[in-house]
C-alpha cells in the first residue's frame, strides 16, 4: 500500500480516525505522518539522560503540560548559595553544580535518589580517610554492635565477651578523639 499523502513511499502507519462518529482510515508513511502531525516524535532517540531528567520532574506534572514559564517554577525554586545553580536548572540538566547543591536541594532530593537507587537514600560504603574524621571508628562501632547482637542471639557468650571488650576500647578511643577535637 502506498502512502496516501506523498504517493511515493509505502504506507507504514495505519490510523483509524473517528470524527463526529464518522470513521476514516488513514494510511501514510512515517515522513508524512510527521509532517501532518499525526504523531509527535521526540527530537532524538530517547536516551538514558532523558529518562533521568524525566524522572526528576516527579512532583510537577502540571509544569510539563503548562506554558513554558509557569509561576510554579519560580515560586519555590531553590538556589545553591555556592554555585548559584537553581533546582529547576538541576532538574533540566540532571547534574549538580557543586557539593553544596546536595545541601541546598536536600528537601527535594530524597525522592529523586530513591528513584535512581532502588529506594536507597543513605550511603553504606567507603569513607574517606581525611574528611571522614572519626566516622571510621563510628562505623566500626556499629559493626561491633551488630556482631555482639548476633553472638548473643547465638548464645556464643565467650566470643561476645571479646567483642564487648573491643567495643569498650573503641568507645574510649572515640571519646579521646572527640575530646581532642574540642581543644
Amino acid at each position: 500500500m502506498e502512502c496516501q499523502e506523498c504517493h511515493k513511499r509505502p504506507a507504514t502507519i495505519h490510523l483509524t480516525q473517528v470524527i463526529h462518529g464518522k470513521k476514516m482510515q488513514i494510511n501514510v508513511c512515517e515522513e508524512c505522518a510527521k509532517l501532518k502531525g499525526y504523531f509527535t516524535y521526540p527530537e532524538e532517540a530517547y536516551t538514558l539522560h532523558n529518562l533521568l531528567t524525566g524522572l526528576f520532574n516527579f512532583d510537577s506534572p502540571k509544569m510539563e503540560s503548562g506554558t513554558n514559564n509557569t509561576p510554579i517554577q519560580h515560586r519555590n525554586d531553590l538556589q545553591c548559595p555556592t554555585c548559584e545553580l537553581t533546582f529547576s536548572q538541576f532538574k533540566r540538566s540532571g547534574k549538580f553544580g557543586c557539593a553544596t547543591c546536595y545541601d541546598a536541594f536536600s528537601s527535594q532530593l530524597d525522592p529523586i535518589l530513591r528513584r535512581v537507587h532502588s529506594g536507597n537514600t543513605k550511603h553504606a560504603g567507603k569513607i574517606p580517610k581525611r574528611k571522614g574524621g572519626n566516622l571510621h571508628l563510628k562505623k566500626q562501632m556499629e559493626d561491633y554492635r551488630n556482631q555482639l547482637k548476633t553472638l548473643i542471639e547465638e548464645e556464643a557468650f565467650e566470643q561476645a565477651a571479646k567483642v564487648r571488650d573491643q567495643i569498650k576500647a573503641l568507645d574510649a578511643q572515640i571519646r579521646e578523639e572527640e575530646a581532642g577535637d574540642d581543644k
Partner: protein, 354 residues
C-alpha cells in the same frame, strides 16, 4: 612503525596476562568518581577553575609512583591530536566525553595502563582500574588503595549520609561503577541473552555493548555493570555483580557444550568460514570484522582452532577501530580506506601467528 610495535601499542600490558575465567571474561574494571570538596564541579566550573585543578594534578602526581604503578604520566588532552585522543578512547583509557573536553581535560596513566585517572570529566576525578579475567574483589582492593593514595593530597567532597558527592545523582554514594567485559557468543547465537537481560536489569545491573552506553554489542562482547551506587557497600555491589557474572559464565559454557553436541558441523562451518573471511578478505567493515573475530575466538576456546593466540579477539577489536587504523596510517582515512586497511591489518596479523 612495524605491525608488531603497533600491536604492542593496541594491547595494554595488563591485558596480556590471563585471569580467572578468561575464556569468557576479558576484563574486570572498577571506576570511582570523586570530587574536590572546595571547587565547583566541572559541569559548571569556569575555564580558570578547571585549569587550576589540572595544574594541581600535574604538579602533584606527574611521574609519581604508587605501588605496582610506576611512572604515572600526566597527559593534557589539548596536547594530543584528534587521532591520538581517539586511540585512548578505543583503548578504554579515557571516555569519549573527556576526549571532547579538550580545554580542561587531562589524564594520568600508569605505564602498564592498568590504572588511569580522568581529570575534569563530568567529575573532577575518575579513577579507572582494570584486571584481566574475573577479578572484581582484587580490582576493588587495588582501587581503594589507589584512592587512599590520591586522597593524601585532596579533600574529597563527602557527606556523612549521601557519601561521595558527584555531579550526577546516579553516581552519588560509592561513586563506583564496577563492570565486567564478557564474550558471550553462544548465548547470543542461541538468542538466550535477550531473555536474560530483563532479569539482570531487575537486579540493578545493566548490560551494554563494548564501548559503553548506547553502543552496540560488537563481536558478542558485553559489559555488565552496577547501576545503583547508593545504599549498598562497594563489597556488596561487587558480590551481586560477581554472582550474576558467574551464572552467565555457566550458561555460556552450557550453551557452548550444547552447540557442540547438537550441531557440531554447523558450528565448525561457521567458525572456519569466519577464519577464512579474516584470512583472505580485502575489504572489511568493522561490524563484519568483529563478528568474525568473535567466531574465531570461540573456535580457539573450543579447541577447534589451535595455533592462534586467544588475545586475538580483544587485540584486533581494538586495533581495527577507526582511531587506531588512522594512527597506524599516520593520517586521516575515509571509511572505504579504513575498510581496506582493516582487512590488510587482520590478514597480516594472522600471518604472524603462522
Amino acid at each position: 612503525m612495524t605491525l608488531k610495535d603497533f600491536m604492542n601499542e593496541a594491547i595494554s600490558p595488563w591485558m596480556r596476562e590471563n585471569g580467572p575465567d578468561s575464556d569468557i571474561v576479558l576484563s574486570s574494571r572498577i571506576r570511582l568518581a570523586r570530587n574536590f570538596a572546595d571547587a565547583v564541579f566541572p559541569t559548571v566550573a569556569t575555564e580558570e577553575e578547571l585549569e587550576e585543578i589540572k595544574a594541581f594534578f600535574k604538579s602533584s602526581y606527574d611521574q609519581q609512583s604508587f605501588d605496582d604503578y610506576q611512572d604515572l604520566e600526566f597527559i593534557s588532552i589539548q596536547d594530543l591530536s584528534t587521532i591520538e585522543r581517539r586511540v585512548l578512547v578505543e583503548k578504554h583509557l579515557i571516555s569519549p566525553l573527556l576526549a571532547k573536553n579538550t580545554q580542561a581535560g587531562a589524564t594520568l596513566i600508569s605505564s602498564n595502563e592498568q590504572v588511569s585517572v580522568m581529570v575534569n570529566e563530568e567529575d573532577h576525578i575518575r579513577i579507572q582500574l582494570y584486571y584481566p579475567g574475573l577479578q572484581l574483589a582484587k580490582a576493588l582492593k587495588k582501587a581503594f588503595a589507589f584512592d587512599d593514595w590520591l586522597e593524601t593530597k585532596v579533600n574529597y567532597a563527602f557527606d556523612e549520609t549521601k557519601g561521595y558527592l558527584t555531579s550526577c545523582p546516579t553516581n552519588v554514594g560509592t561513586g563506583m561503577r564496577a563492570s565486567v567485559m564478557m564474550h558471550l557468543p553462544a548465548l547470543a547465537l542461541t538468542k538466550q541473552l535477550n531473555r536474560m537481560i530483563p532479569a539482570i536489569n531487575q537486579l540493578g545491573l545493566v548490560v551494554r555493548g563494548i564501548y559503553g552506553e548506547g553502543s552496540e554489542a560488537l563481536g558478542n562482547l558485553f559489559q555488565i555493570s552496577n547501576q545503583i551506587t547508593l545504599g549498598k557497600s562497594e563489597e556488596d555491589i561487587i558480590s551481586d555483580l560477581q554472582g550474576v557474572v558467574q551464572q552467565l559464565i555457566e550458561h555460556e559454557r552450557h550453551a557452548r557444550e550444547r552447540l557442540m553436541q547438537q550441531s557440531p558441523t554447523k558450528l565448525a562451518d561457521r567458525i572456519y568460514r569466519s577464519l577464512g573471511v579474516l584470512e583472505y578478505s580485502r575489504i572489511m567493515e568493522s561490524k563484519e570484522a568483529a563478528n568474525c573475530l568473535s567466531d574465531v575466538r570461540l573456535g580457539i576456546d573450543l579447541d577447534m582452532i589451535k595455533n592462534i593466540s586467544c588475545t586475538i579477539l580483544h587485540e584486533l577489536m581494538v586495533l581495527t577501530q577507526p582511531g587506531f587504523l588512522q594512527h597506524y596510517a599516520q593520517k586521516a582515512l575515509t571509511a572505504n580506506e579504513r575498510d581496506v586497511l582493516r582487512a590488510t591489518l587482520i590478514r597480516e596479523r594472522l600471518q604472524l601467528e603462522k
